[in-house]
């Protein structure tokens, strides 16, 4: 039987594309629902609407004015940016050392780091609480910045190490011959070439810190981050869905923007590890 080449719209309708469409809808529809509901009138949320009518910003003003969402946002920004910066600084240095310096036991160190990163948070939350209490770090920024850095550093090191491995060693040799010392070589040559890895590690760390709930709830109950703040909107008897949705849209927005801008690094970061040609 002769197989005809499909043209036009028939070419698009096939099993793969239809399955893909279902997957996309599965992910996008809840987001769509989130956004349109956030712009609906809070009193009308009992009914179903596929488009906000009337269009209302009341949920947003309620979130910021009545529930103090603005302060949660600021707390999250401070903690997330600080932890991400620390992870990137230490992660880049560690990734460089593990990827490029002649060192014994590099592989063992790397595997140990990864094993630590697989440790469930909940297993260490109790002793960490005791430690933070003794340090006087409860309800403080450093009370989250330091644990976040510790927990998310191994994965960042892994990403950065793999990127560093992909940089040809002739780069350092050429730099040495040109007259650059080790620090100058890392700063001027290696780091710019590893920027995709830095962005990738940065995006993953930012997202992880921004959405982290357990430690934020345990250590900073009075200095609420966004996830904890949204979770504590309303009372057991009254759940302000519209306000929750509005706050969630605001929370998702920065991540969406970042991932969109750096999307090619996110994808390559997930698939990196091979030596670049």
């Amino acid at each position: 039987m002769r197989k005809r080449n499909r043209t036009g719209w028939r070419k698009v309708i096939n099993g793969v594309n239809i399955s893909g469409l279902f997957v996309v809808l599965f992910i996008v529809l809840p987001l769509y629902w989130l956004v349109i509901t956030s712009f609906r009138n809070p009193a009308d949320l009992g009914s179903v609407q596929y488009w906000p009518n009337p269009f209302s910003g009341a949920n947003y003003s309620q979130a910021f004015n009545e529930y103090g969402f603005g302060s949660y946002f600021i707390h999250s920004v401070v903690v997330t940016l600080s932890a991400t910066a620390l992870v990137l600084i230490f992660g880049t240095m560690a990734g460089y050392a593990l990827g490029r310096l002649p060192m014994r036991g590099k592989f063992t160190l790397m595997v140990t780091l990864l094993m630590i990163s697989l440790f469930p948070e909940i297993a260490v939350i109790a002793p960490l609480y005791t430690l933070e209490k003794d340090l006087g770090w409860l309800d403080s920024y450093q009370g989250l910045i330091i644990p976040y850095t510790a927990f998310f550093l191994p994965f960042a090191i892994w990403i950065l190490r793999n990127y560093m491995l992909g940089i040809p060693k002739e780069m350092e040799e050429t730099s040495r011959i040109d007259g650059a010392g080790p620090i100058r070589t890392v700063w001027s040559i290696i780091l710019p070439m590893a920027l995709p890895g830095v962005f990738t590690a940065g995006i993953f760390t930012f997202t992880a810190c921004w959405t982290e709930f357990l430690m934020a709830l345990t250590f900073d109950i009075n200095l609420k981050m966004i996830p904890v703040g949204i979770a504590t909107f309303g009372t057991p008897n009254e759940v302000p869905f519209g306000t929750i949705f509005a706050a969630s849209v605001v929370a998702v927005f920065p991540i969406g923007i970042l991932v969109f801008i750096f999307r090619k690094f996110v994808i390559s970061g997930l698939t990196s590890g091979a030596v670049k040609g």
């Binding site: 040809p168 002739e170 780069m171 040799e173 050429t174 011959i177 040109d178 007259g179 040559i189």
Partner: protein
């Protein structure tokens, strides 16, 4: 400007591998010295020791008469071009070329002037604002050379810089590299595995094998007077035909399989040592270009072979033939392709394109005895005195 002198330099790695053995070589000011050999022979290791990228296990390296074993690459004032160019991908061509000058803290205006001058020499003026990713292979190679040239180094090192280019571009760039080298006139050590590059570019050529220097000489001398079987097989394309042969009792003739070739007197004037090899086995070498087809009435020794394959190149016919003598093939001297197609007794000849011959027929070659090479069977060394 400076000379490079390596005196019994050795490189032994931590795992015990002896990569370079008692390497002694000198490169004069302005000389273009080519270091050639098969993959893994230690030529790149030797080059990297000169650059300071590998430690020297023992022996002395002098640049400009000063021992530099313990000096950093920067202190040695060398410039190097790598096989894969090693350009900084995030910098423009101008920034790549000027990076070393920036590290020396030269004023910006001076850097710009030198970069411009170098770009003019290399034909890169129109590309100064581009990044390496936007350039072709040949342009990248020129940027790599520009980065080396702008530093006005004492020594110029090149590690197979043309290997990544296609054949046509390689031929073009060979001329470019020579032109630039003559212009800057510094001692240059150029590593390649391609013996055609070696022969066409070097003032002198150093042939290496398994970490050891085999012969250092002018290209024509390497071709005419190879010191041993390896050099004989390595230099020349197609490779020299090497066979096991037996000298006659009085050593005035050589038996090649079932054929006997009388040797003229003038051959013994050049190689008096042959007279000691009566009735002994030797390795006989004849280059393909020294086996023209014999015409009617030809005098001198002839060789008859069975034609297996004819390659018509237009300017000549390359004839693959077989004789009943065992072939000698030193390891590493020929390419994998040549090794794969070699059969016992097979030889190659380059004859006039008008020669009338067909596959399966027998062909008679008029052996050019001037080009014949003889080697000791045990030591592989050339037989002269």
């Amino acid at each position: 400007m400076a000379t490079v002198d390596m005196e019994k330099v050795n490189k032994v790695y931590e795992n015990g591998f002896h990569a370079v053995k008692d390497f002694t070589l000198d490169v004069a000011e302005g000389e273009f010295m080519v270091l050639v050999g098969p993959s893994g022979c230690g030529k790149t290791t030797a080059l990297r020791m000169v650059a300071g990228l590998e430690d020297i296990t023992s022996g002395l390296l002098r640049i400009g008469g000063k021992v530099v074993n313990d000096e950093t690459p920067k202190e040695r004032d060398i410039a190097m071009v790598f096989q894969n160019y090693a350009l900084y991908p995030h910098m423009t061509v101008a920034e790549n070329i000027g990076f070393a000058l920036k590290l020396r803290k030269l004023p910006k205006a001076d850097i710009a002037a030198k970069v411009k001058q170098t770009a003019e020499i290399l034909g890169l003026t129109d590309w100064l604002d581009r990044k390496p990713g936007q350039l072709s292979g040949g342009q990248r190679q020129r940027v790599a050379m520009g980065r080396a040239v702008v530093r006005e180094p004492s020594v110029f090192l090149m590690d197979e810089p043309l290997s990544n280019l296609d054949a046509k571009l390689r031929v073009q760039m060979r001329a470019e590299v020579q032109r630039i080298q003559r212009r800057i006139n510094v001692a240059t050590l150029y590593v390649t595995h391609d013996q055609v590059e070696a022969m066409t570019m070097g003032d002198r050529v150093a042939v290496m094998r398994s970490g050891t220097l085999q012969q250092v000489d002018h290209p024509q001398t390497l071709y005419d007077h190879p010191d041993n079987v390896f050099v004989a097989a390595f230099i020349g394309s197609p490779a020299m035909n090497l066979y096991e042969a037996t000298m006659s009792e009085d050593a005035r003739a050589v038996k090649l399989g079932s054929q006997t070739l009388p040797l003229p007197d003038d051959l013994f004037e050049a190689r008096p040592g042959l007279t000691r090899y009566g009735s002994k086995k030797v390795v006989l070498g004849v280059r393909p270009e020294h086996l023209p087809a014999a015409h009617d009435g030809a005098t001198g020794p002839t060789l008859v072979g069975n034609v297996d394959l004819i390659e018509a190149l237009g300017s000549e016919l390359v004839i693959h033939f077989t004789i009943d003598a065992p072939r000698v093939q030193p390891e590493g001297a020929t390419t994998d392709d040549e090794d794969a197609t070699a059969h016992a007794g097979e030889g190659v000849a380059r004859v006039d394109p008008t020669t009338k011959v067909k596959v399966g027929e027998r062909i008679t070659f008029a052996v050019n005895t001037e080009g014949m090479q003889f080697f000791d069977m045990e030591t592989d060394k050339a037989i002269w005195t």
